[in-house]
Structure formats: C-alpha cells, structure tokens
Amino acid sequence: MTEPAPPTAPPTAQGPAPVVHVSVQAADFDIGAEIDRLTAGRADIGAVATFTGLVRDHAGGVPISGMELEHYPGMTEAALRAIADAARARWPLQGVTVIHRYGPLAPAARIVLVACASPHRGAAFEAAEFVMDYLKTRAPFWKKETTPEGARWVDAREADDEAAARWR
C-alpha cells in the first residue's frame, strides 16, 4: 500500500523532489524510522512536525477495551494521497508522510501518523494540522469501540467538521 512519489518528479534547486509516502496498513509503525525516511539524504529541511493518534482507554467517561478500524480499500489510499497533495500545494513542503492503521487495535495502540517536513516551522505545523483535519473528515475510516455494554460505532464529531472548515 506504499506509494512513493512519481519517479518523474524533477529535483529542484532546494534539493530532491518532495516525497509523499502514504500507507494504509494493519501493522504498527515506527515513528523514528518514518521521520528518518522523510528526512533521509537531504539537509535543506528545517522543521518536521508530526502528529500521532492513539487509542484511548475511555471515551466520554465510558471504558474502551479496544476498537476495530474499518476502511475502504482503494478509496482510502487515494483520499490520503489527495490530502497530502493538497497540503503540498498550500505550503512549501519537502515531504509528507501519512500512515493509518486498520483492524483490531488495543488501548494505547498507535492509529495514525502524519509527518510534514518544511524549511519553516510554521508551514510544517500548519500542514500537519491541515492533513489531520482533512483526514478526520474525508478519509473513509470507521471506528467501532468495544465498551462494557458491547460494541458501538463511533459517531462523527461536529468539532471535526469545524476544524476542517477553518482551512477553506
């Protein structure tokens, strides 16, 4: 499910072409290794901002013993790549990594990693927030939490729509 940047993308005066790495996977990921991949072989990056989402052991006061993450194979990868490309069009980014897991996940498990590399810290931070806000509202994933009263599908949150709306 890994999609490297097209090999035809030309290098620029600022260094090699920006790299988009998107992966939808059941396996866990290694944040340090992903940042190394994002920054490897170039010395023109000044800032890397990352976001990692984790499974919480409670939600709104209800204990959560785990969750199942369902997704739409094919559309998911395309949606994540479109979000990464939108971020690259908006900020000067040297690389964008988006990794999202699916399947059963226990409390404290990593769910999602977004990492953005830029010459400048403001751009790196904003791009990572932008990717997360759009991912939350546009990437076809659905969470089903296991609670003491049984399993339940997580409801979409208005706050996530509002977070995404601020980038328009």
């Binding site: 739409y72 094919g74 939350k136 659905w142």
Partner: protein
Amino acid sequence: MQVLYFAWLRERVGAGREEIASDAPTVAALVEELRAKDERYALAFEDLSAVRVAVDQEAAEFDAPLAGVRELAFFPPVTGG
C-alpha cells in the same frame, strides 16, 4: 455495478459488497428501489442524513447519475484519525 457498504450500513444490509443490476438513473433512485425490495435496505437507508455516498471511489451526492458507474459505496460519516 458493484455496490459496497461499510460500518453499520454493512451490518444492516448484511453484506459488504454485492453486484446490483439496475436501471435507476441516480443514486437516490437506486436507494428507493433497494428500500422497497427488502427490510434490510429499509433499515440501512432509514435516515439518509447519516449516509454518505462515493461513486467510483470519489465522494458524491445522492443526485449523482449512475450511468457508466462501476463501483458505488454507502457509508456513515467517517471517523478515522
């Protein structure tokens, strides 16, 4: 046309994917056909404000035309991240 269902829509329909042959001109018309056909669909499409549509893996509306569509998907608002 392949029709896909995700999350609680999949559970209510009782299948994640099925082949459907229909002359319905739009997504909305197909939904009406399905609702009339079986209680499972009536339950799944009970509240369309909670249902999202993708046509050939792109977000779409209920008035989207179905001519030439290969893959249609129904799912609730997304909750990843």
